[in-house]
Symmetry: C2
Subunit: 206 residues, 2 copies
DNA sequence: TAGATTGTTAATCGATTAACAATC
DNA sequence: TAGATTGTTAATCGATTAACAATC
């Protein structure tokens, strides 16, 4: 039986990964939990605890090898899989994501786009053709899509999720402000922009 | 001395708000914590606990008045302040946010845009003129901006944050993948898209 | 060796869940 | 009244922080 790992820990791993990648590009060979913590406003104990969940990556008295730790965290996160994304709904947000270059540096690539609006179907964004949602099954199979990105209005999001699941995606990244139902074998992450804005509003009102 | 309220609670309030608003538009007058919980996959005990932090909003044996509770939560979150946003960096993401209509329904409005690229300065997005970042102080004062939205590359984000703080914004919504330093009186929320993607990657790799 | 830093166990803190009296 | 549902206290669970032996 595998011990479950807290979401809080998983959420910090990308921060470590990003910082290590930056340090690697700056030719730093070794980093301590203390230094990494200072860069991210996270306590060194927290970092060591998070890493200890997955193994022993450091050397006592020395610290962590920057390149080595970066690779290990990338592997824990599964970034070496080079996941393939399809974006459904190429409005402003979907179009922006189709052009977003930060994804590729993490090993994700956008390989298919869908919309139901005939005025955009057939056009291309960032060199990727926009398909009719009706073609979803065939296109997703052919392009070997792993993750569906939902950037349609809330009212259409569950229908799109059902189509993506039927087409065989393994994960869904949902930007629509609504709770989706997907089978347990499909991973789901909700990206809710209204939470950030509301949290800011709350803080500013205190 | 005010008791501190957990971030987890604050993060759930927008979900309640959104669901109540939807129910209100469907002419529902009363909702129980049980029904609200079913819609959001949150336990009714959790919802009652969250609300109890701020007061007594329900009637025992009956439930909550949908309109009344929605208004109360909106007030707790400070949404009645109708915050004014300025977006710095009108690339793909900044441009998408400038066009994003879901903000206005929460009481936020985009009132100013900035970029340093002369090819976009002077143009308009969604009817809002793009200003030179050099004009930030004057424009932010004149437009009475409350919140600065940072959608520039990570390497420029701290400089932009410093400019926004100097111009007097009360909050910063940061989309750049880097830890920013701002004075304690300025609220900061980091919107980190790589966390969601990485969390999906991790789940799909298990 | 002395100083530094990890990995891990123990202690604390905070959030969620359970239970139930109050009351509509 | 009986059934339903809140608000709140107590119990549990899980995550963070502190402490320190191991060791480079």
């Amino acid at each position: 039986m595998k011990k479950t790992i807290s979401q809080a820990t998983i959420d910090r791993l990308p921060l470590y990964f990003r910082t290590l990648r930056l340090m690697e590009s700056e030719e730093n060979k070794i980093i301590s939990s203390d230094e990494l913590g200072r860069k991210l406003d996270i306590t060194p104990e927290q970092i060591r605890k998070d890493l200890a969940t997955f193994g022993q990556f450091g050397k006592k008295g020395i610290g962590y090898d920057v390149h080595e730790l970066k690779e290990q965290i990338g592997n824990i996160l599964g970034l070496q899989n080079h996941w393939r994304l399809a974006i459904v709904g190429v409005g402003h947000l979907g179009g922006a994501l189709a052009n977003y270059t930060n994804f590729s540096s993490l090993g994700f690539s956008v390989v298919a786009l869908f919309d139901k609006n005939s005025s955009v179907i057939g056009s291309a964004i960032n060199g990727i053709k926009v398909n009719n949602v009706i073609e979803m099954n065939a296109v997703i199979a052919e392009a070997a899509v792993d993750i569906g990105v939902i950037t349609v209005p809330a009212g259409e999001a569950q229908d799109v999720a059902d189509l993506l699941v039927a087409a065989g995606v393994k994960g869904i990244w949902n930007f629509a402000p609504i709770k989706l139902s997907v089978p347990p074998e499909v991973s789901l992450f909700n990206e809710d922009l209204s939470i950030g804005l509301s949290a800011l509003s709350y803080q500013m009102s205190q």
